[in-house]
Amino acid sequence: MRADKRARFDNYIVGSANRLAVAAAHAVADAPGAVYNPLFIYSSAGLGKTHLTHAIGNQAMARHPDMAIEYVPLEDFVEQLHAAIATGEMDRFKQRYGRVDVLLIDDMQFLTGRRETQSELLRLLNSLQGSKRQIVMTSDRPPAEIADVDERLIQKLSGGLIVDIGVPDYETRVAILRAKCEERSVTFEPGVIEELARVEFTNIRELQGALNRLAAAQATDGSLTPAQVNTLVGVPEPAPASSPTAAKQDEFFSFLTDIASAVAAQIEPWKVRVGEAVGFWKGEGYRTGPLERLMTEKQPPENWEALLRGFAQAIDQLKDLEQKASSVDPALGGSELFRDPERLTEAEAFVERALAGAVPPAGPQGAFARASFEESPSNQMAVRAADAVIAEPGHRYNPLFLSGPSGVGKTHLLNAIGNELARRGGANCRVACVGAQLFIDELIAALQDGTIERFRARYRAADVLLIDDVQFVGGKERTQDELFHVFNHFHAAGKQLVFASDVPPKQIEGLEERLRSRFEGGLVAELNVPDRTLREKLFGRFLADARVPTTPELLAYLAERSAASVRELIGTVHRILAAAETSGGPVTLPLAKQTLEPAVGAAPSPPPTVRQAADVFFLDDEKIVWEWPDAAGRLVEELR
């Protein structure tokens, strides 16, 4: 069958509902077999599938006059197939369709249940597609919804492009009507076509039918006004209120309305209020015993409003308690105790126990007192910043980042801040002071036991967080992640953060940008190698601590000697003390000279690996070995 010459692209109105389908049809008609093969178009009846199919056929014919183009409704295809089978001319049937270049099949939905047609069609489609011939199909539903069709055929149909055509919108309907009028050379009064287009026809055939009717009416009665359109087209007036279903609804709903007002008028307002509160708090999951008992009163108690308020307050308190409990351990949050205002005191006791039982993060070490930290130009900025933090935690410098080489007192200062804040904050101020390594270890342990929530809660419950040796988090992604969140939590809550590191944030290797910028957001304060002033002060203090009488000359002599760290100074003091003990005499300048001079230049400085052990020295001076066996001794030991 040839394509209908009247159905062309140029008289096919394109609107938003069919734009995609038309674009695909154009592409297929221009280059059959090259794109979108097969093209499957579906829409409900009368929206232009067939028109579009014919248009493809016509345009393909115009572009490629040598091509064999066949349009066939599925019903005809079935009939031909049956006839071919009946007359034993299957071969001819196959040949006929086998040489078609563009096959247009309409109304594919009629495939339902036709097994032999389906298998023949599948074979045909395979052979056509294999030789790059175009197939275009239409249906009133997508392939998958055509009932009782072979799965392989559905896959074949869905293999190319599936497009649908929707109901045209108002503008498209106007355009279609104008085009039809032009086609028939009919003219209407202005407004008539627009009025007709306003009627929401679900398909274009109806629209066309309505237009024909108007044209006929106009031919007999003379020109029409827009107002006549609806009556002529037979659009039902908006359903009158008296229609049976509407009456039904009305009768019932007016009854409902009356009941509602009767209820509202009769129920005692105070009981409604209390009842609402009961409903509300029950919905929130709280027990409402006191309110329920209140309900049973005959007369409203004088203070019923106060009772309601008191109940709400009790629930607020419960919420607070629950939050506290979950900050210790999220698992405690769901406890039934927090749901019953009548058990408020019980809940309070419970939270107290929970708080007491929880292990807070380590606090600062008491040995590091602020008072024993000596200030000098080399560390002045850091010390002043620390004092500012102590005075106004969370306000002045948050975070405070202490950086400086090993052994200049970062840990001391950090712990001193912690101790001071803990002392000033009293019992309620929880100061967490940990080494980064401990933070990492705890995080790993928490990950291992699946108690990460608890880990977070423990840290977040603290009011001040001080982390020493924060350079260790470099390159540890998960730790940085956690630290990032902890940091944000503290910062947002205005809680003080102090970090110490041997290098400024910029130089911490493997530190994520988001953390670096946060560290730098407060104050980065440097602690430098002790200068002469500081050395003198420190020697004075150390010797005084050892109850050794000193002379200014001795201190001046000692302070003159350069030192890379405070630890070195301590080492010096210890050597002098040891020498004094050996000789049995007092500590004097000559003794100091004698002890130190030969060693000048080879001053024993602990290798960096014992740095952590050195920290312990501050607590227990027996644990540290300052005098390492010389290289020869160690060699012998290893050779043994």
């Binding site: 009854f255 009941i259 209820v263 009769q266 129920i267 009842g275 009961v278 309900m295």
Partner: protein
């Protein structure tokens, strides 16, 4: 039966349609059932004999949804009208919050009407309910019948409604008057809400602690 439960925020009204046999009590319920939108329809339970006479009772639950924050449920019952179902009538009447007396307007049924109305009072009294305290409305049904067969409302009223309860004329088969009657009894019943709230045992959980 409790009318309003503040704790569970429920209002439950039990309304019993009372009246002589074949006066149209079940027809009232059927009409109401037909008017309820599909999504609100409960199941109407009707135990009827083969000749469509109510053998035991009809039960129509009406879920009116949330009204002023209260889940409101109406339970409409009918009693079997025939004289010999006295026991069933008493059973159904138990705990009723309101009674609709459906009278048959046919002139030849007048005696049955009066007898049934007296029966209602007797049954209420037997249950220790003061009939004067029970909300009652009277419906004169079958007013659509030819004039020569029925008595006018005024006359019926004189004969039956000696207490001057609110009265409605109705044609339960086709609907007029059915909802008016239901509305009438509902308003009467709900008017007692505040008084009923003070009645013992109205709130669940009372005295449990």
């Amino acid at each position: 039966m409790s009318l309003v439960n503040y704790a569970t925020r429920e209002i439950t009204c039990k309304i019993v349609y009372y009246g002589p046999g074949r006066s149209g009590k079940t027809t009232n319920l059927h009409y109401i059932y037909g008017q309820v939108p599909e999504d609100r329809k409960g199941k109407m339970v009707s135990l009827a004999t083969q000749t469509d006479r109510t053998l035991f009772f009809d039960f129509l639950p009406l879920d009116l949804g949330s009204i002023s924050g209260f889940t409101t449920k109406f339970q409409l019952y009918t009693v079997p009208g025939q004289v010999y179902y006295q026991a069933t009538r008493r059973l159904v009447l138990q705990g009723a919050d309101g009674v609709v007396f459906v009278a048959d307007s046919q002139a030849r049924q007048l005696d049955e009407n009066i007898e049934s109305f007296q029966d209602l009072h007797a049954n209420l009294a037997e249950q220790g309910v003061d009939p004067r305290a029970m909300p009652i409305v009277v419906q004169y049904n079958k007013q659509d019948l030819p004039k020569e067969l029925i008595l006018p409302v005024a006359e019926l009223s004189d004969a039956i409604n000696f207490r001057g309860s609110p009265e409605f004329s109705a044609d339960a088969l086709h609907g007029p008057g059915v909802f008016e009657t239901l509305r009438g009894i509902s308003e009467q019943v709900l008017r007692r809400l505040s008084a009923a709230g003070a009645a013992p045992g109205t709130a669940a959980g009372a005295g449990t602690r």
